[in-house]
Symmetry: D2
Amino acid sequence: MMVIVDFTVVPVGTGVSLSPYVAEVERVLRRTGLNHELHANGTNMEGEWDDVMAAIRSCHEALHAMGVPRIHTDIKLGTRSDRPQLMAEKVASVRARLMD
Amino acid sequence: MMVIVDFTVVPVGTGVSLSPYVAEVERVLRRTGLNHELHANGTNMEGEWDDVMAAIRSCHEALHAMGVPRIHTDIKLGTRSDRPQLMAEKVASVRARLMD
Amino acid sequence: MMVIVDFTVVPVGTGVSLSPYVAEVERVLRRTGLNHELHANGTNMEGEWDDVMAAIRSCHEALHAMGVPRIHTDIKLGTRSDRPQLMAEKVASVRARLMD
Amino acid sequence: MMVIVDFTVVPVGTGVSLSPYVAEVERVLRRTGLNHELHANGTNMEGEWDDVMAAIRSCHEALHAMGVPRIHTDIKLGTRSDRPQLMAEKVASVRARLMD
């Protein structure tokens, strides 16, 4: 089952700057080979359910290994059984409507 | 890695009543044996990362099998490397502070 | 417009124990008079949109006043135009289906 | 208090295509004048707390006026008391680290 997710990893019990941790998340995701894209409040990613969830687990493992004692993560995800969908199509279909 | 999650499954492209689907989610979770508790806006659950994510995937599969064409799910989750934690302790530790 | 929300306030840049902050959130909410209930991963609350959002803003203000430099909050919310709904009904309607 | 949010509006009890509703959300946001950006799983937006929450409420009102009976929305938000921050800086600070 394919899934499209947006997720945000929030380290707790560390300093106030989170960019070192977000950069580490990005490095972990690059190694997975999954299609993903960083945005201002999280990361969009798509792939097989198990691969996507294993990638997010790897992010948690990497941050705990950096010394983060506690991690809060939000995931928004979508699956469809009616037809396949890619992340790129979602923004494109909204833009097409705005140009009508 | 143990994880505590709160998740909400939102069927899209169905009727306005969601309780048949939330009831099915509850039935799926009971079969997993994972500790979980329904609340007004979702379900709290705890267990090993892979077991928890497989349980949520099973909920998606069960709802698609009921004919739901599209599902949006939110997951909030927490992991800790400093010490183990159970859901039951989280509310208890807040209540203890409120009684000080 | 009435809204039912679930929200979780995550202090960033503090120590690893979050219960002092969750307790403060609870104290702020009690002063608002809004119907709310703490659960293992957040707080359910219901009321008029503006009152609910002002309550969550007050929680942020109170935590910043305690010295929390950065706060991440998740809110899941629902509104309906077909009929009014209360939090208490949501769990009850699922439970009724499970007893069929 | 300034806030940076990511939010996703999920119409419930409608057809399976959500792009007409996401396009309407975009039209509502353009009228608010708030800085915002659509991405594959939601919209990032920044501004004063009350303005941002009023904008999201306007999206709900507009969708209910289109006939959507029930709406589920997720909001992730962040506030800071240590220093001001803009959305554009968040991605830039992560990218700078990845180039080290």
